[in-house]
Symmetry: D2
Subunit: 350 residues, 4 copies
């Protein structure tokens, strides 16, 4: 931590900060500049509140040097984290990028879901996604079929061999969702629902954590740290667009540079959801390709058997036919990436 003192602050203030730091077990190194004094505090940041120092007399600014998360950081794990599911599917590192496919909300028409799942399986996808509990901005919008939806998902997953991903919105629902899902999703709006994150940290299910619409990368990794530090080491990150000043033509702004940035900072797998990020069907293919080539470990996309009549997010869902075409194009790119990854694995080995 670096503490910058106000120009011309008096010696007494400086000594007060030094004492404060030493009391907390820090070593304080003073740098007398021409204009101001800068104090380097050496020790474990997590033992201290930077704001507490900030409030001491004569302190201009406190700058954090070390990233505040630990288990989520590259220092937390030497190697990229790769999770292997019971059916052999892997996610992360140099494994083949995965595809998660399904409707925004699971609806009453089970056959529709089955049709999507069958097409997904046939096209080589690994996961079936679908909402049972739906976080909707308006209380008057469709809120999800809850347990019925979970049963449908499990049934369609078992029938096709796809793994099931679905969202949980409340700590109370974790046991129920865990009975049906292979991966539990935390939605963007709940990224800082810390009670939920802690409770999922006690779970043994992998957690797919979506980036909040206004979460910085640091806040995103700190949210992951909540899960990791409570004991669950299987966290999959998901970039799904951030809020910006322009939402005329896309719902959010997909922050694709976050993929290589997060891969540099963290060992956790990260996937991209172009459907929610853009809110536009025609952008799913180009943004999926861009995400994959930028290094994403997978893509989550919305596919519906009848988008015109979807309960939610029809405009950003692909029809099954459209999905087949998009997926065919993505599979070509995924094949090339898998090939390059294999070469790189060989290099690492030798």
């Amino acid at each position: 931590m670096i503490i910058v003192m106000e120009p011309k602050t008096d010696e007494q203030n400086i000594q007060r900060v030094v004492k404060y730091l030493e009391n907390k077990g820090f070593k304080a190194v003073l740098n007398h500049g021409d204009v101001m004094v800068v104090i380097a505090a050496i020790g474990d940041k997590r033992l201290i509140q930077p704001e507490a120092i900030n409030s001491l007399e004569g302190v201009r600014e406190v700058k954090i040097i070390q990233e505040p998360y630990k288990l989520a950081s590259r220092e937390g794990s030497l190697h990229d984290s790769v999770y292997t599911f019971p059916n052999g599917v892997k996610i992360g590192g140099l494994e083949r990028p995965v595809l998660m496919v399904g409707p925004c909300s699971v609806e009453k028409d089970f056959q529709g879901l089955m049709d999507v799942a069958a097409a997904a399986k046939e096209m080589g996808c690994q996961f079936l996604r679908g909402g049972a509990f739906k976080p909707r901005t308006s209380p008057y919008d469709f809120q999800g079929l809850e347990e019925v939806a979970l049963k449908y998902l499990r049934k369609a997953g078992d029938a096709t061999g796809l793994l099931v991903v679905t969202e949980v919105m409340d700590t109370l629902d974790i046991p129920l969702v865990s009975d049906y899902a292979d991966v539990i999703q935390v939605g963007a709006r709940n990224m800082q629902n810390f009670k939920l994150l802690k409770a999922l940290g006690k779970s043994n299910k992998p957690v797919l954590l979506k980036r909040g619409a206004s979460a910085t990368i640091r806040e995103f990794l700190l949210a992951a740290e909540y899960i990791l530090s409570n004991g669950n080491e299987k966290v999959i990150l998901c970039e799904r667009g951030i809020k910006s000043f322009d939402s005329s033509f896309t719902r959010n702004t997909l922050d694709l540079a976050s993929i290589p940035v997060i891969k540099k900072l963290s060992h956790l797998p990260i996937i991209v959801d172009p459907s929610h990020a853009t809110g536009r069907r025609y952008l799913i293919e180009p943004m999926s390709k861009a995400a994959l080539i930028a290094g994403a470990h997978g893509i989550m996309m919305e596919v519906h058997h009848d988008p015109d009549n979807a309960s939610s997010d029809g405009a950003q869902s692909l029809s099954i036919e459209q999905f087949r075409q998009v997926c065919k194009n993505l599979n070509k790119l995924i094949g090339r990436i898998e090939y390059d990854n294999k070469l790189q694995k060989e290099l690492v080995k030798n």
Copy 2:
């Protein structure tokens, strides 16, 4: 709802949209322009998903005309909502603006809390605020004293006659918090925790709903609608700063124009929290004054008996001495506002 068709789309697509609308009980009025057709859909917006229409062939854009919330809107209540607490304190409308004062987190030192409460009471404040459950960005930061803190708050509230405001973070904790608090706060990070909002809608305690850091005004009022539409009509809104591209000198950007905007759109009381909005102690006084003169129904501010050693947010907390000075200045302004409000009440009566 207005449906704008793509230029030169064929008649068939237009008829499909018309049929779709009519099936949902809407009346469709066509406007043939030189370049494109615009369809006005007349009916209850809440019966239809705009995205569903958006996904129909040939549709360029769907524009919502009516605000999507109802109970929170001016149409939902003819008069400004004013809530009266059992001790006679009122909030909203043309009542005297209120002050909510206390530490960010309640800490082990009960006497410290009592000192703050006593000063608050003496200066004419109405509410004691303090965190028992703390939503912290990092899992390594102080997470709150939970029930101990609730007991302290109640005790200090009872001793001074102040009403108690404290945050709940999880549906499971609502009964516990309700046992101690007069007002239940929903933090900015939970503004779209819809399960929590619904559960609070079933509660009979007034809810203080903070605006999410990236919530639009529309999303903010829709979050209030979740509580209102579940039966709890006592919602107090709180503006506490939004995220912007500049956080060098203030933590967030305080959106003060939201006060008159929301007062135009809604009948609900709205207060301002300049402590969280700016994160800087020296900004509390000018921003509180600005908020009050812009029409806020109250101010929530952080005061700590020993900010240098606060468990959280010391840099934005006033010491008791500073608070007395700030409050003295605010009270002058509040007195003038109360006087003007009385004149206005007389006018309305006559």
Copy 3:
């Protein structure tokens, strides 16, 4: 400047940074932490490119400690800058806050402009504002009457005794505008038109510099520094709203906390333009009051003799009648502020 090295970077990289700094005349102080080395570079920041250091091997981050502007900073001038115009009007410091009033664009109807000017004078305003060269987002919108408008403004200014403020958009037009205006305005879109800023630095007219819609406070003060460092010490800052994710109910987000922040960082006067910030007529009064009470040295607002037929920005312009009412209310507040300022002046003297 603080240079944070990567954890476990080798000694050679550290020595390279030290050498680089010493070659540029800096003193380098090393702080060996448990995890990483932090180098404090002491010297004149302006002799070095932080990016250059950032690009050296093993450097994780370069943190600027001192604000990069100098003449605009509190270190640049001990006292608040107050400018006195030939007619005795003063702006800045503890002087009575000023009002700048007029139409967005000057139009063909000279009498309309005269009516606005006469009302402004009568209500105690000091400045007449109006656009001769208009920066419009669309090339098909009205672009301004240019020299004709300048003549009108001068004539109306002379007739009423108001000072004239008008915008210049291009270095080529500075001589022409200088012939007519008392204050030259730089619009938000030109805040980083550095050629224009430099040329105005050579002018002897006071410059009203508007904050860019996405300019940080630091960038804003650096833009002022361009003018100051080229020799013109009369810069008036103007906050006029920044872009945020929500523009449904206001055109921009008025950043009122920037007023006390900038007054802390800089000695320059700062005013607020609520008309452009909000784009809504009904918000001018509450936001003007909030700005004044937060410490603004003046308000610039749009008034038009016939807003329904204005060439630009009618929706945010007050009619003359509305203006009289708003101004009456503002004058009460200004009177109180003037009184408080006088007390403070006395205190400073004694």
Copy 4:
């Protein structure tokens, strides 16, 4: 244009709007809804100020239906615009994506520039870029070598056969820059310097227009419209990152979805500048690949012969050696895109 009236506004207000529209040559179609009246105004939007209508009594909101630019839109040109330079290089449409390479600023060391240019040519790039006039946030940063730099660029361009791209910051400098450059660049900070845009509209040189850091896509295309509507039909757009709330790890947020969005709205070529967008060297390769696969017509990137000692933006510049490696990888992808484009051209022909 759609005019939404306030609920329960009286008939008189509605008739006033209708009359106003008809006076301006519009046809007004009324839709009487249950709650409010919506008026569809049919005619040429550019003849009217939406704000003017907005300011009429009883009007709640004016919604623009048609995009306000015309020449830049798909309606402005049936086919993708492709520009062919005298040396046969093409940009736009289904042509091979181009690469623009060079230092941020041209410096005194001509040989360094030549080394970059020679490497660029050898790797198959088409353009040499470099700054002669530098828009710098601080007046104390390097401001560019001006005409000397222009001469160097021309000389290096002629020696290698590369086309020269360089920025102009002021209308006064257009003739000078035109003497040396093949493409004139407008920087992000000048995107709404309308005088400059108009003057470039009279030029016969292709203009590379960078998106402003807080410009919406609509504002971006309107800026292009300024150039196009003044007679210059050769505009190349460039996405270079927008401001967001997170700048800890990247300078700006690269908005890659803007590529397919703009290609849908406009016929103009669009390239991407990952160097300025991210400000980080290691992000250039992944973001260039992502941009190309998302459909960009080219990439502009910063390469410096000695980044550690660059006058500006060293941290985001590739060394010549790094550039060769990155370019080798990009060329593979460009080859594949060229192949796919050829297939598509064949399809279009047949």
